[in-house]
């Protein structure tokens, strides 16, 4: 309760400071942007012409896609409802790596909801909601040393448990991967959430394999992965509101 009160009070000011900071940086950036926009405008006009042709093809393809989906029995519903949120502040100290987003209990956010983001055309796992205030919440990222994510190697289907190393550039370590998987794991393999016994919905990209360690004294492999998201560039995230129904209900 005291933490929630402090979060609500401090984050009110953080939102204000963040808004002022954004305004100043946007104003400065907009001067340089004007020149770039001029040339982009001419480029975009040419693309509009090309896209209008594609639009005609799209309607046809969409109809065909829906027919195929129906045949395969896929649902047209989205996997889960999500709520867009903006990062307004990061942890004031250097020991912890949480950040504050501008959505809270008033918007339907609850503790332990999964947080995802889209970057460079890819959906990636950001972390989970740690604490909820009235209009803000604290998100703990997957690279935090307290984070554990049940994962699966997308290509070879082996499972493991990803643990954060504490900083975004150190990546994550996937433990408890069966030793027989060694020959099947390739560098660059995608690692996704498994959704098993976890609060994270299945199939969300977590990272890519950068190193595989097979230590004699361990009964399982240790796989190092680099997160698919560049956390330093994150500005907006999505909070998965009802992903718990899809994934397991046990604690992370």
């Amino acid at each position: 309760m005291p933490r929630r009160a402090a979060l609500t009070v401090v984050s009110f000011f953080q939102k204000g400071f963040s808004a002022v900071g954004s305004f100043v940086s946007r104003t400065v950036a907009s001067i340089a942007e004007l020149k770039r926009l001029e040339s982009e405008n001419a480029e975009l006009l040419a693309r509009v012409e090309a896209l209008s042709i594609m639009e005609r093809d799209y309607a046809e393809l969409r109809g065909e896609n829906e027919r195929l989906r129906e045949q395969l029995g896929f649902s047209r519903e989205l996997a889960f409802r999500s709520l867009a949120a903006r990062i307004v502040a990061r942890d004031p100290g250097n020991l912890y790596s949480t950040f504050v987003v501008d959505r809270g209990a008033a918007h339907g956010v609850r503790k332990n909801q999964a947080v995802i983001a889209y970057q460079d055309g890819m959906e990636g796992l950001v972390g989970r909601v740690l604490e909820v205030g009235r209009s803000t919440c604290i998100v703990v990222p997957i690279y935090d040393s307290s984070a554990n994510v049940a994962v699966r190697l997308e290509r070879s289907r082996y499972e493991g448990l990803a643990q954060g190393a504490g900083t975004d550039d150190e990546g994550l370590l996937v433990k408890y991967v069966k030793k027989r998987a060694k020959d099947e794991i390739r560098y660059g393999d995608l690692v996704v959430t498994s959704g098993l016994r976890s609060l994270y919905p299945p199939g969300i990209a977590v990272g890519r394999v950068t190193r595989v360690r097979s230590l004699d004294y361990l009964t399982s492999l240790e796989v190092e992965i680099a997160a698919v998201l560049d956390f330093g560039r994150l500005e907006h995230v999505f909070i998965a509101l009802d992903a718990g129904a899809q994934a397991g209900t046990e604690a992370p």
């Binding site: 402090a6 979060l7 502040a89």
Partner: protein
Amino acid sequence: MIRGTVLSALLVALLVIVQSTWLDAVAVLGVVPDLSMIALIYVSFRNESLQGQVAGFVAGLLQDGVSSSPFGLNAFVKTCLAWAFNALSGKFYIDGVFVPMAFGLAGTLAKAVLTLVLSWIFPAVVATYDFLGPALWVEAAYNAALSPVLFLALRPFDGLLAPGDRER
């Protein structure tokens, strides 16, 4: 005394908010300077009363509210730092550069040692600085470099922050 304490707490809390919002743009290797700690050191050193400890405790609690640290960790660390620099009050003459730099460096290292000791007592919940890693030393250097600037900036407000102060 009360006005000075309230203003000191507000100043330290304000710098906590600045750290969490604007300073991300000037982070070095992902490390931001601890302006709130530097201001707290200044306030604690300039006052012989408990003003620094109270300000540190209140601002630390607010910082705990927006952090994943155990609730009370920052309040405890800031109160201890304020106590230590309050104990040094009147024992040093603050020059323009070197003493503030030494205070910034010492404050950062004291904070790291305090969290290390707390992590021995509460190993599962308290994160510690890696004394061999770059983060602690970047923060120490950053704080040491900014301390003279912040001390200089706060000096004109001594009438508000340290009303009963004698020249040190």
